[in-house]
């Protein structure tokens, strides 16, 4: 999903930077507020950032004969809501643009918009949808991770099609072309990323239960000592 340095015309580069900037600033403030008000969140915030860091460094083969990398932005979106990931995702992209010649400074805005804004929000929407319709936490996490991944790559394809429309078939033709590069390759990766998210959450549900309850990801359960009382109460458990 990294648009290479210089491969967006200046107008697009500036436009996407302006579009992404408020999200990133808002995200930075969300991170600062979270850490100040709930210092115990720092650990999990670190985990969310680290997850994106690892996953976006690893390029995986896909059935289409090409390779691509996951994004890992769904995890933080589920835990802390999407704004936080706007900052964390952009930090990852900046690291890769500066040190790896992967992505770029002129395309940072567009790349941040797809990976750090659209991805987390789409993933969060999928998560909410699954939870609303009665799905459990783990199916919700799977949906969030997979959708965040796919949505990011679809956004990149559309951004490129807009900047480089096909000479004959225009935007639609170019979109079909770029989607065929990005979207199909990404399907198995999105599934894999969903499974990894489920694995990680299975650990978090056991060891980080108090945090997950405070963040509203898990419903509060009674303390072990109070359990008999809560069971006796009418309508205490459904």
């Amino acid at each position: 999903m990294h648009i290479a340095e210089g491969f967006l015309p200046p107008a697009h580069a500036i436009g996407w930077t302006i579009a992404a900037a408020p999200f990133v600033v808002h995200g930075a403030r969300a991170v600062v507020t979270e850490v100040r008000e709930n210092p115990e969140s720092t650990l999990l915030l670190g985990a969310a950032g680290a997850f994106t860091f690892v996953l976006s460094a690893i390029k995986l083969p896909s059935i289409t004969g090409s390779s691509s990398h996951p994004t890992g932005t769904g995890l933080g979106a589920v835990l802390f809501r999407p704004p936080v990931m706007a900052l964390l995702g952009t930090v990852v992209l900046l690291f890769q643009a500066l040190l790896l010649a992967h992505g770029g400074l002129t395309t940072l805005g567009a790349n941040a918009f797809s990976m750090a804004v659209v991805g987390p929000w789409a993933g969060y929407a999928a998560y909410r949808l699954v939870r609303r319709s009665g799905g459990g936490l783990l199916p919700g996490v799977f949906a969030a991770m997979a959708v965040a991944d796919l949505a990011t790559y679809v956004t990149t394809a559309l951004q490129l099609a807009w900047a480089h429309p096909d000479a004959a078939s225009g935007f639609a033709g170019a979109a079909a072309k770029f989607l065929s590069v990005f979207a199909f390759t990404q399907v198995p990766l999105a599934i894999g990323e969903g499974l990894l998210g489920v694995l990680l959450f299975r650990v978090l549900v056991v060891s980080a239960r108090p945090e997950l309850e405070r963040l509203g990801v898990l419903r509060r359960t009674p303390e072990p000592d109070e359990a008999p009382v809560a069971e006796a109460a009418p309508g205490g458990e459904r």
Binding site: L44, L98, V181
Partner: protein, 134 residues
């Protein structure tokens, strides 16, 4: 037991998902989609000149893969540290509760708290050693 089985199956599924393409079509180049998109632009929009160059490019593919490994190691290290600390905290709480039950109701809270603090400190020290595998 069942819990471990589910974990093992999930891990296997992830491995199978990425091993299958390699086994089915080992001859393929597995070019990155990012560079494929760049080639596509150069093909279809031949007149387009990239107007900005990367500020720094790794000199060789070896250095590049090394830097990618650094990125993964940083992420994996932090993730392992967090999971280790959370796990250690949970073990400490468990120990505290057991001690409390043994010591009896009255002194339970005090002892439990002390054990928790003590074990917590120890676990924190152990967890501070960064994990090796990403």
């Amino acid at each position: 037991m069942r819990r471990h089985l589910v974990t093992a199956l999930l891990v296997l599924a992830v491995i199978a998902l990425f091993a299958t393409p390699l086994l089915l079509d080992g001859a393929s180049e597995y070019a990155g989609t990012d560079s494929q998109a760049t080639e596509l632009i150069e093909e279809s929009d031949a007149g387009y000149e990239p107007w900005f160059q990367s500020v720094f490019s790794p000199g060789s593919s070896e250095i590049e893969s090394g830097l990618f490994a650094v990125q993964a190691a940083l992420g994996g290290g932090v993730l392992g540290y967090v999971l280790g600390r959370l796990k250690g905290r949970r073990t400490a709480e468990k120990t505290a509760r057991q001690t409390a039950e043994q010591t009896g109701q009255q002194t339970a809270e005090q002892t439990g708290q002390q054990t928790a603090e003590h074990t917590g400190r120890q676990t924190a020290e152990t967890a501070a050693t960064p994990p090796t595998t990403p």
